[in-house]
């Protein structure tokens, strides 16, 4: 249960971190809060040659307001979001999601950006922020680019973040008036990784309902469904063709897993019910 040997460097700036990532010294990993990387190092599931610590950088710890969005520094901790130290442009969804991640002792160090970059299908932010239509801001040798979180994961623990890119910040859009959201995760035990996640966002202005089903065997399932007018009673009433949802679950590894399928549908229904609330 001890990590294999590795070297450690504390980045002086984001630019320095990008430089270290591209230094060609074997397998280089970024270190933020270390609450997932720490266990993986101890279990020797990951054996980097060099860890580049970006957790203390000012650039990754600040938040700012941008046009229609709040830009949250990637190394902002779950606890800071839970405690409202960052403005929540969603009317409480960020704080709710943050408060359900693992345990307080983990939330005190674990970060929003680290969680996204790791892309564990069972982690909360990947699904919750996909529902919210949030984006990540990446910094690489060629400059900055943005990626929608709904399109970030390419599979379990796989993302479209380049080898020499750093997730600098998360842009969470300010929700238009009247937007409703719901979030539900199913765990065996408080603080455990989710067995199923449901996240729902309804924007009545655009007449769009987004349904996200997370904790699949790969990327979260993101479905955009036209729902003109108010939200109907049930998820089934909102989604004209539930076969689409079932097919999506089949495609994400649940074809031969009726239990997994059922749990994911329940999570989506409960998230929907929360949004109606």
């Amino acid at each position: 249960m001890k990590a294999a040997r590795f070297d450690y460097a504390r980045a002086r700036s984001l630019a320095h971190a990008v430089e270290l990532l591209g230094s060609g010294d074997g397998f280089v990993k970024l270190l933020a809060g270390g609450q997932t990387l720490g266990p993986m190092l101890n279990l020797r599931l990951v054996q980097p040659d060099l860890l580049v610590d970006v957790s203390k950088l000012v650039e990754t710890n600040l938040w700012s307001e941008q046009e229609g969005a709040i830009l949250i520094g990637a190394c902002t901790t779950h606890a800071a979001i839970e405690d409202g130290k960052v403005p929540d442009p969603t009317g409480g969804m960020l704080a709710l999601v943050a408060s359900g991640i693992a345990y307080r002792a983990v939330r005190n160090r674990g970060t929003i950006g680290g969680s996204l970059a790791h892309a564990d299908p069972a982690a909360d932010w990947l699904s919750a922020l996909a529902a919210l239509g949030a984006e990540i801001v990446l910094l690489g040798p060629a400059g900055e680019r943005r990626v929608k979180i709904a399109e970030l994961a390419k599979g379990a623990f796989a993302t479209s973040i380049g080898d020499n890119e750093i997730l600098r910040a998360v842009a969470v859009p300010c929700l238009p008036k009247g937007t409703r959201w719901g979030y539900y995760k199913f765990c065996r035990k408080a603080g455990d990784f989710a067995e199923a996640i449901g996240a729902v966002l309804h924007d009545p202005r655009r007449g769009m309902l987004r349904v996200v089903m997370g904790a699949t065997n790969g990327a979260p399932i993101v479905l955009d469904i036209a729902v003109p007018g108010g939200l109907p009673e049930t998820l089934e009433a909102a989604v004209p063709d539930m076969a689409i949802v079932e097919r999506a679950l089949d495609d994400h590894g649940f074809a031969d897993d009726p239990y997994g399928k059922a749990v994911h549908l329940v999570a989506a229904r409960r998230a929907f019910a929360e949004a109606r609330h």
């Binding site: 070297d7 450690y8 957790s55 345990y103 307080r104 002792a105």
Partner: protein, 156 residues
């Protein structure tokens, strides 16, 4: 893979040390500083036995690298002798039989301290939820929950 120099404060004392990057904080505390009150259970962040205070907030010392704690203020269970909240918690843990073998207790006390100081209005359900990151295989948690409830009740 050379060792790195760090300076930090542990239980009020300034410490300068050279640490291997791979050494986690719990091993640094136990093996370099001989502060064996911090216990190691699962060593991957699940059991909570290694919970200590880093810059005033509870954290897992088994999944926090010592080298990352450069400049940090660490408090382990050894430093709470004269702390009035911890004195109350100790008395309540005794009165409510909140420990048997004692292995989880340093981590339980760290989390209990956080609950009492951060969530003065916590009810039993909230206490149980907050304690979900600390495993105890002796007590069944009833005594621990009662002890924390008692301190919350008795606090001014």
């Amino acid at each position: 893979m050379s060792s790195k120099s760090i300076t930090l404060r542990v239980n009020g004392e300034a410490i300068a040390a050279a640490v291997a990057p791979r050494q986690h904080l719990a091993d640094f505390l136990r093996e370099s500083l001989h502060l064996t009150g911090t216990h190691l259970g699962c060593e991957h962040g699940v059991c909570g036995a290694c919970t200590v205070m880093i810059d005033g907030a509870p954290a897992r010392s088994c999944i926090t690298l010592a080298v990352v704690c450069d400049g940090a203020e660490i408090r382990t269970v050894e430093s709470f002798d004269d702390d009035p909240v911890m004195a109350q918690l100790r008395a309540a843990f005794t009165a409510e039989h909140a420990l048997q073998c004692g292995f989880c207790t340093p981590g339980m006390l760290a989390t209990a301290y956080d609950i009492v100081t951060r969530l003065p209005d916590a009810d039993e359900a909230r206490i149980r939820r907050e304690l979900s990151g600390n495993l105890c295989r002796c007590t069944g948690y009833v005594g621990i929950v009662r002890a924390i409830s008692r301190v919350l009740r008795e606090r001014p």
